[in-house]
């Protein structure tokens, strides 16, 4: 646990980078500091490993003041990842990752073994080990940066906009990877970003900072989206916070109806019966995997679906996985489908049922009214 107690920083030129701030980053959780450029995020982060000394207040890690040991020793026990990875260009990937263990006096063999293990953890391959940083892509460099920070297994990880400089696709990968690693390692992570979407995706708790280093709100992402404390936070969250908040609620509550679902080899009389009651039929294959929508008026008069050319089936957009995916995914599925109906599938991709946009509304309403989400992400 990292606690900031009335921590403030005024630079010698009079700039107040951080106004007296109280903040607690829970152990084993990701705490995100988000705010516009110049809101003191980096300053706040660097005061933890004493690359910057506060001008007031104190910072405790697990109850111990960071000033109680020499700064270099403190830093070797705290992982640090920065925007452009900051790898040592003259060292191989492996040697980069071995840095802190070697500084701590580990033997070469032990450090090497640990480094190899970490390269795999962060999704790199063993043959990346011998390369130099300039031979890696930006995303790979950033992975090495994360491996290097984790090398000595520090309980605390500081990350300063680690994914801001890579392209959106790679960023998405790195974010997913970080969540996966975190679910295994459970580090106490302090993560700085100026991107509110990243904050909401990664943070267990999110601290929204304003210029002048004032803490505007510190809450779970879902609370932040539901109840922004003031105009600044609301503005910073952006326009679609209501829809985005749905990503914190499980799609388990969506009422799914099986009636519109028919197998491609269903008996004609059953198909014709469904045709009478449903405006749209979802045609599924023998394994109940979705093939596409068929408007009722296009069902063949003899009810034989196997005669319908595949091209006549209307794409279902994408299906959502019941429970595993969020209400937001369910809503998106409905909105994207030409039939305005969301297709819910189980973990194996077999159709469970469908729900129209209207049928989703009560679940959405319940989520917005209920105070806490059932589902973490």
């Amino acid at each position: 646990m990292i606690s900031f107690q009335q921590v403030g920083k005024t630079y010698p030129d009079g700039t107040v980078a951080v106004a007296a701030t109280d903040l607690t980053a829970d152990s084993g959780r990701i705490t995100v500091l988000v705010g516009p450029s110049g809101s003191g995020k980096t300053t706040l982060l660097r005061m933890v490993n004493r690359m910057i000394e506060p001008t007031s207040g104190s910072i405790l890690i697990d109850g111990v003041d960071v000033r109680s040991k020499p700064a270099p020793e403190l830093r070797r026990g705290i992982g640090y990842v920065i925007q452009n990875a900051g790898l040592f260009p003259h060292r191989t990937v492996l040697a980069n990752v071995m840095t802190v263990p070697r500084l701590l006096g580990w033997s070469k063999e032990k450090a090497r073994e640990r480094a190899m293990e970490l390269l795999l953890t962060v999704g790199l391959e063993a043959d990346h080990a011998k390369r130099y940083p300039f031979q890696l892509s930006g995303g790979q460099q950033q992975r090495v940066g994360v491996a290097r920070a984790l090398a000595a297994d520090p309980p605390v990880l500081l990350m300063d906009e680690p994914f801001s400089a890579v392209d959106p696709v790679v960023r998405k990968d790195l974010q997913t990877e970080l969540l996966r690693i975190q679910s295994e390692l459970e580090k106490t992570i302090l993560f700085v970003t100026h991107d509110i979407d990243e904050a909401i995706l990664l943070g267990d708790r999110v601290a929204v900072l304003n210029t002048g280093g004032t803490l505007e709100q510190f809450d779970t992402p879902s609370e932040l989206l539901a109840h922004p404390k003031n105009e600044f936070v609301e503005g910073f969250l952006g326009v679609d916070r209501g829809v985005r908040r749905l990503s914190f609620f499980s799609s388990g509550a969506v009422p799914l109806r099986p009636e519109p679902v028919v197998a491609v080899d269903a008996p004609p009389q059953e198909v014709l019966a469904r045709k009478g009651t449903q405006p749209w039929l979802l045609v599924v294959d023998a394994e109940t995997k979705p093939l596409g929508w068929l408007p009722a008026q296009q069902v063949p008069a003899d009810g034989d679906l196997s005669r319908v050319p595949a091209a006549d089936l209307v794409s279902y957009g994408h299906a959502f996985t019941v429970e595993a995916e969020s209400l937001r995914a369910a809503l998106d599925s409905a909105v994207l489908s030409p039939s305005s109906r969301a297709v819910g599938v189980d973990a194996d991709g077999r159709v469970v049922g469908v729900a129209s946009v209207e049928e989703l509304v009560p679940a959405i309403r319940a989520a917005q009214d209920g105070s806490s989400p059932e589902n973490g992400r």
Partner: protein, 213 residues
């Protein structure tokens, strides 16, 4: 005309001249480097003294070598040392700015990362700052080495000029072929040394993008 004529025996042999030329030139570069590293680091640590240092180095560089040799003779005699001392100062003058630029040129995020990993002063210098400054340092070494190999010949005024003696002899004996030989040998030595330094640099910096690709 024979490019490598017999040289009068009182001047020495090709082998002994090569040896003298290299000894004086390379030792002066080495001493220059040994002195330049701490001076440069001092300038990095205390940037305020750097302009004064640059001015001083410029003055040193502008001192005529002949004058320095003559001034040193009373204390160090007609020896190689008398030639090496001024040349070491020239090397120093060429190397200090390169080392300063090299260490200052280390990318900010690399420097930050080193601090954040828990490196302390000396260790960071040895493990991060100096290795990264190798390319500019090598550039300085090349300039100093080639310059000194040529400058050594001026030592002939006090009788220790290695191949420079061929120039004096050329004038005295009216044998211009000796002068040509002197020039050819000096240029060849300079080129060989420069090539060796280039190869050394490639071996030392496999991580350098511009060199390996």
């Amino acid at each position: 005309m024979n490019l490598f004529p017999h040289i009068p025996s009182y001047l020495g042999t090709y082998g002994s001249l090569i040896q003298q030329q290299l000894t004086m030139a390379l030792l002066s570069v080495l001493f220059g480097l040994i002195a330049a590293v701490p001076l440069a680091l001092l300038c990095v640590r205390y940037p305020k003294i750097y302009p004064a240092m640059v001015a001083l180095l410029t003055v040193i560089y502008s001192l005529p070598s002949i004058a320095l040799f003559v001034l040193l003779v009373p204390s160090t005699g007609l020896t190689q040392t008398t030639v090496i001392i001024p040349l070491a100062f020239y090397s120093l003058a060429a190397l200090v700015p390169n080392i300063v630029d090299g260490v200052r040129g280390i990318p900010e995020d690399v420097r930050l990362a080193a601090v954040a990993m828990g490196y302390t002063g000396i260790r960071r210098l040895v493990a991060v700052d100096l290795p990264l400054a190798v390319p500019p340092i090598m550039a300085g070494l090349r300039v100093a080495t080639v310059g000194n190999i040529s400058m050594v010949s001026v030592g002939t005024v006090i009788g220790v000029g290695a191949f420079g003696a061929l120039f004096t002899a050329a004038a005295q004996l009216s044998r211009s072929d000796l002068a040509v030989t002197g020039i050819v040998c000096i240029v060849a030595l300079a080129l060989v040394c420069d090539l060796l330094l280039v190869i050394t640099q490639r071996l030392l910096t496999p991580w350098n993008k511009r060199r390996s690709r």
